[in-house]
């Protein structure tokens, strides 16, 4: 009897130990890929970075050059994406958190659809913008690229605005409303001020997400070997250039692709780490 108990006890201990070991191994497995990907990207990218990257345009096949036009295109289209997506997202998020309490079904269905949009494949949104803003106009353009990116920013900002505003204590709303201040002023001047760090985090996360986005740009802004100068023309962007150059057989193009990959990775990582740190600091301040 005692021996049997001892056997079961040892067996349970052994199972526990195996499970814990596998848990540690799984975490190591995840971190291993992170380290491998970062080391490969950063080490290849550092060798490929030079001042010419920022001053010259993308070269013809096999030639030497830089990424200046792609960087410009990426910058303009990302800014356009945030400029369109962020205000709409903040407005929709505010509606969900503040103005829809009497329309439960409607509110929940918008939240539900927004959650779907948040995880929907970006390539699908790219196709949508192609039929919306490229086909009727007749040519690819930076505007279309910006709209496609805006559709990716939108659900991120809706979600964070909605969640942040719901965390603002009701006392603030009641205090402001009891002074006879109209609701739009309460929202703009009291609630947004309290929720600013959270909303800003959402906008920055949206920016981080679109700065490496490739698939939707393939059908909207396409590519441009030269300096586009305006958003009316097809625009090159760093991710699309990386895609095109990495798939090519030319060594000099590969080097430029690594340089682009390096810039995108560093930008995204710095942005997301800084956002996290910013949010953490503000949360701590709010709690103190």
């Amino acid at each position: 009897m005692l021996r049997a108990t001892g056997f079961f006890y040892r067996r349970r201990r052994a199972v526990d130990l195996i499970a814990k070991t596998l848990g540690v191994a799984a975490t190591g497995f995840g971190l291993f890929w992170l380290a491998w990907i970062l080391v490969v990207t950063l080490s290849n990218g550092v060798h490929a970075i030079s001042p010419a990257i920022f001053t010259q345009n993308t070269p013809p096949p096999g030639g030497e050059g830089g990424l200046a036009n792609a960087l410009f295109g990426s910058l303009m289209m990302s800014l356009l994406g945030v400029a369109i997506g962020a205000p709409l997202g903040i407005a929709a998020g505010t509606y969900l958190a503040e103005f829809a309490e009497r329309h439960h079904t409607w509110r929940e269905s918008v939240r539900f659809v927004n959650d779907i949009l948040l995880s929907a494949p970006s390539i699908v949104l790219g196709l949508f913008v192609y039929t919306l803003a490229v086909r009727p106009v007749g040519h690819f353009s930076g505007w279309a690229g910006g709209i496609a990116l805006a559709l990716i920013v939108l659900p991120v900002v809706v979600r964070t605005t909605d969640e942040t505003l719901r965390l603002v204590p009701n006392v603030m709303r009641e205090a402001a409303l009891s002074l006879g201040i109209p609701r739009w002023k309460v929202t703009m001047q009291v609630l947004y001020r309290a929720a600013a760090p959270g909303i800003l985090t959402g906008v920055l996360l949206g920016l981080a997400r679109i700065s490496g986005e490739t698939a939707p740009l393939l059908f909207t802004s396409l590519n441009n070997q030269f300096w586009a100068g305006s958003l009316n023309q097809p625009n090159s962007s760093v991710p699309v250039v990386v895609f095109q150059f990495a798939m090519s057989p030319y060594e000099s193009w590969h080097a430029l692709a690594w340089a682009g990959a390096f810039i995108v990775t560093v930008f995204v990582l710095v942005l997301s780490v800084a956002t996290r740190a910013y949010l953490l600091r503000n949360r701590v301040e709010a709690a103190a």
């Binding site: 526990d16 848990g23 799984a26 990959a261």
Partner: protein, 343 residues
């Protein structure tokens, strides 16, 4: 025009005097006017916010409608053959989506086989095993995996992982797993590096952070009293997780898995780099294939006829429908736990 009003004027005036009365009534009108203006402003504000929320619904609906419309020519021409035919002939204008559909499903299945146990292990580590001071940094590091753009996974996959697979892993797979009866044909083939297995592994790595962060978050919602009761009865950590935490969070865990599956199905760039863009059906996972998203990304700018373009958009519509269903299941499963919590 109303005379300028100062508070002192009203306070100083006697109630009986006519001047004060008229001042009060003027004031009343101004308050009314202002209240009316504010009501108007509130209504405008309210309706603009409402329109923005409606836009969110509109985007999803319009995306589906526009792709159905764009793909109508392909659906009308090929009918059901569009889904079941494996013919993809750009010159003869005959298109069937079976190869990309098969590739999408198989590569996602491989991804889930890898990602589900690993994510569970990571969530277990982050909620039960790791010392508290280590949980934050490791959790953030795993989430960084989700922040890396998919194009970077693609480049790393093409230049580092594919050669590694071709040199070290695939010959071994061919020799050993290929010899197993029944499942052997899946693993037999030349070690090209690019192919279904490589794409599935890369996809698996990409969805691990999504699934593990959902699992970690829902594991943390289990009431401490439940877990502590089990510990007090002498349970081991594993028994607490397997018999208390997992049953409590089952629906949300399944939701997280479906969320990851939705990501894997729609992932484009990384797969495009390592899948090989080959429109041929082969039993072996070591052979190149194609996926819906990779086909669209590779061939969209080359589509030289209306029916070709329409077929690609129709593929996009199929992808949209599949991911929509998967993500809907995911959200419903996740809402179940939220309701249980009373949130």
């Amino acid at each position: 025009m109303n005379p300028p009003y100062t508070p002192g004027e009203a306070a100083g005036a006697l109630p009986a005097s006519g001047a004060a009365l008229s001042a009060l009534s003027v004031d009343d009108e101004r308050i009314k006017a202002r209240a009316a203006a504010e009501t108007r402003q509130d209504a405008v504000f309210h309706w603009s916010l409402f329109a923005a929320a409606g836009l969110v619904l509109l985007v999803l609906g319009a995306a589906a409608a526009s792709m159905l419309w764009g793909g109508r020519e392909a659906f009308a021409t090929f009918g059901w053959h569009f889904i079941v035919s494996d013919e993809w002939d750009a010159v003869g204008h005959r298109f069937g989506a079976f190869v990309p559909i098969y590739g999408t499903l198989v590569s996602s299945a491989i991804a889930m086989i890898i990602a589900i146990p690993v994510s569970f292990g990571i969530a277990l580590f982050l909620t039960e095993i790791a010392p508290t001071w280590l949980r934050g940094p490791i959790g953030s590091a795993i989430e960084l995996l989700a922040g890396i753009p998919s194009i970077i996974y693609g480049m790393w996959g093409l230049f580092s992982f594919v050669p590694f697979m071709a040199a070290n892993v695939l010959p071994w797979v061919d020799r050993n797993l290929g010899a197993i009866p029944w499942v052997g044909p899946l693993f037999r083939g030349p070690p090209l590096g690019i192919g279904m297995l490589t794409a599935g592994i890369v996809l698996g790595i990409m969805v691990i952070p999504f699934i593990s962060s959902v699992m970690r978050d829902v594991f943390q919602t289990v009431p401490a009293a439940l877990k502590e009761s089990a510990y007090a009865l002498g349970s081991t950590t594993w028994e607490v997780v397997w018999k208390v935490v997992l049953p409590y969070t089952r629906s949300a865990v399944v939701g997280g898995i479906f969320l990851g599956l939705g990501r894997a199905l729609g992932e484009t760039m990384a797969v495009t780099f390592v899948l090989g863009n080959a429109h041929q059906l082969s039993a072996s996972l070591l052979m190149p294939g194609n996926s819906i998203a990779a086909t669209i990304a590779n061939e969209f700018t080359e589509a030289d006829s209306d029916i070709y373009l329409s077929s690609l958009i129709a593929l996009g519509f199929l992808l949209f429908i599949v991911t929509f269903v998967v993500l809907t299941i995911a959200r419903l499963m996740l809402y179940n736990l939220a309701r249980k919590e009373g949130r």
